[in-house]
């Protein structure tokens, strides 16, 4: 029989008409609704540090500034950064203290295990692949890296991580505060980060200097109710937070320095009240001699005073009246240097403090008296 005469079957004979319908829901009713979303299940995984990346804009900065650029640009990996950090610790006491704390944490993983997971989310990394960006737990990350480098281990450690859908600055700041008390600079950055987050101003990766991002808060007008949102997280009053934000006036290298040596807000406030050209010198002096804010005030009054070898500057004669008038003059000079927005903020802050301290009536009386005396002199002249 020739090929043309052979019986041919239709390929569609077996295909029923019902099967032709592409519309869902025809025929039997569905037994189950569409898949419900996953309930909140903890997503815990184990990752090596090389699969993770700290948040550049974490208010609490751990990695020294000289290593940050190379690390976050991908020039060096986390273990190379840790090795360089260990080298730096040999010659810098502040870095050494921090590194020792982290190394001790890393050693404790062997004994006690990793108590809390690192939290974060998967983000597109610098090379296009996905990397786990850390929200909280950067200290555990560096502790593991430093431990591996110090012990020359071949295998990478595996850290417990929890994947969160929406990392937040609030959670980051809360974790920081639970971990250890922050420095004044860290607190300033935390407040700034919270404010910028509330105002919908996320950090951009193109920003070269992370402090520039935090400084943006100083030029923002605070919407109503914003301070009330931040207060429960920071556990600070509004005036206190404003005081801390003032620290961000310092240039970035000085911010790094003051952060590293954990200078207090009171000392920095005193330093900032001095002329800008004196800031670096005063910070150096303060670090070297561990000066209090009162001592800074004295040192700033004598600009070229060398640092005494005993560590304390010579005391000026104590005349309370002169001290009071010098302080008021300093206040007037400082406030006149500010721009109008900062001036009104500073006066707002002062009014809050005076009332808070229960000295409102007294202060008004003194200021009225001073005002009368000044007006009399102007009239005379």
């Amino acid at each position: 029989m020739s090929p043309q005469n052979k019986k041919r079957f239709n390929a569609f004979d077996d295909l029923s008409q019902e099967a032709a319908s592409p519309i869902p829901g025809t025929g039997a009713a569905p037994l189950a609704p569409a898949l419900s979303p996953i309930a909140a299940v903890e997503r815990i995984e184990r990752l090596a540090p090389s699969q993770m990346l700290p948040d550049r804009f974490q208010p609490r900065r751990l990695l020294p500034p000289s290593l940050r650029v190379d690390f976050f640009s991908g020039k060096i990996d986390c273990y190379q950064a840790a090795a360089a950090w260990l080298d730096m610790a040999r010659s810098d006491p502040a870095i050494k203290a921090e590194v020792e704390r982290l190394v001790a944490m890393g050693e404790s993983f062997d004994e006690h295990g990793q108590i809390k997971p690192i939290t974060g989310a998967w983000k597109e990394g610098p090379n296009g692949n996905y990397i786990f960006q850390i929200e909280t737990g950067e200290r555990r990350f560096w502790a593991a890296c430093l431990k591996r480098v110090k012990n020359h281990s071949a295998a990478e450690p595996l850290l417990r991580v929890e994947v969160v859908d929406n990392p937040t600055r609030q959670r980051q700041v809360l974790e920081n505060r639970h971990a250890e008390p922050p420095s004044a600079v860290e607190q300033a950055c935390e407040i700034s980060a919270l404010i910028l987050s509330e105002m919908g101003m996320p950090a951009e990766e193109t920003v070269q200097d992370e402090y520039e991002y935090f400084r943006r808060v100083r030029s923002q007008r605070m919407p109503t109710g914003l301070w009330e949102k931040i207060t429960p997280v920071m556990q600070l009053t509004r005036p206190r937070m404003v005081q801390l934000l003032n620290i961000l006036q310092l240039p970035s290298p000085l911010l790094d320095l003051t952060d590293r040596y954990r200078l207090s807000e009171r000392v920095l406030r005193e330093i900032l009240s001095a002329p800008e050209r004196q800031w670096e010198r005063l910070i150096q002096v303060s670090i070297q001699s561990q000066l209090t804010s009162d001592e800074i005030s004295v040192v700033s009054g004598s600009p070229e005073q060398p640092v005494p070898s005993t560590g304390k500057p010579p005391a000026s004669p104590r005349d309370p009246g002169r001290e009071a008038s010098r302080s008021l003059l300093k206040f007037i000079r400082s406030i006149n240097r500010l721009d109008p927005v900062d001036q009104s903020q500073a006066l707002d802050l002062l009014a809050d403090e005076v009332v808070f301290l229960g000295q409102a009536q007294e202060t008004l009386t003194r200021l009225d008296e001073l005002s009368r005396l000044i007006k009399a002199r102007i009239k005379k002249s």
Partner: protein, 280 residues
Amino acid sequence: MAVTITIANEKGGVGKTTTAVNLAAGLSLKLSGRSGAAGKVLLVDMDPQGHALLATAFGLKPTPGGGNLSSLLLESPPPSALRMTQRSQYHPNLYVIPSSHPAMVEAAHLLPTLMANETRLSRALAPAAKEFAYIIIDTPPTTGHLLVNALVAADLVLIPVETSYLGVSGLMELQRTIDQVRVHFRPDLKTFGYLPTLCEEQRSEAQEILAELRTRFPGQVLAPIHKASDLAYAHSSHMDVFSFRPPRHKSPEQIWSSSRGTQEYAVLVDTVLERTGSGV
């Protein structure tokens, strides 16, 4: 949120992997001008047999044993799907979750013993869905838990159909599987269309089958993909056809060249974009 398209047919050799590879590559080229999730495409390889073709088409080495996609299916809770992704060498906005043959064979054996074994891929991909505009899933040519997982994870099913007697004869079984998935898991699962592949119109059988498909599935039959040497050569060169035969001036507006394979898959890409509301 990503539109998930599963490429399925229970018959082997009909062009599922070729379609998955070229559709994903074409979509990534078309969306290359968009930023963020709107410009990214994810390709998931659920076929234990096709792993070499799929992954290597994008400059990726096949993953070693104990691979990654299988852990999405077997572990509870599953690891992050984004962790498994690898970026394509040829298309910076195209990501692949490759698989390995031994790991996926093991996954196919173990899946029936696990709880919620039909929904594992869907649940594993859900957190990653917001990172991509499209997720394309290639499937094995067998009825089984891997195929069911891919269908449950899908919004749309694209069915390549070889224009031959054997090519059509597998459709009934696939349709039953799709209907069962609709009844039990995804009432919203839609058939995107039937894609005639390996088409040789000079053969009368092919013409008859095309006509019959259009009669039985009106409005559902997509523009055919003809048998073309470029498609085969692209595979052997470890490339998608758009990278194998690029146009002189590549742009999101024109991704096809003089090669028929590129032209026909470009039409499919445009159809997908248009019907899913992402038309450029």
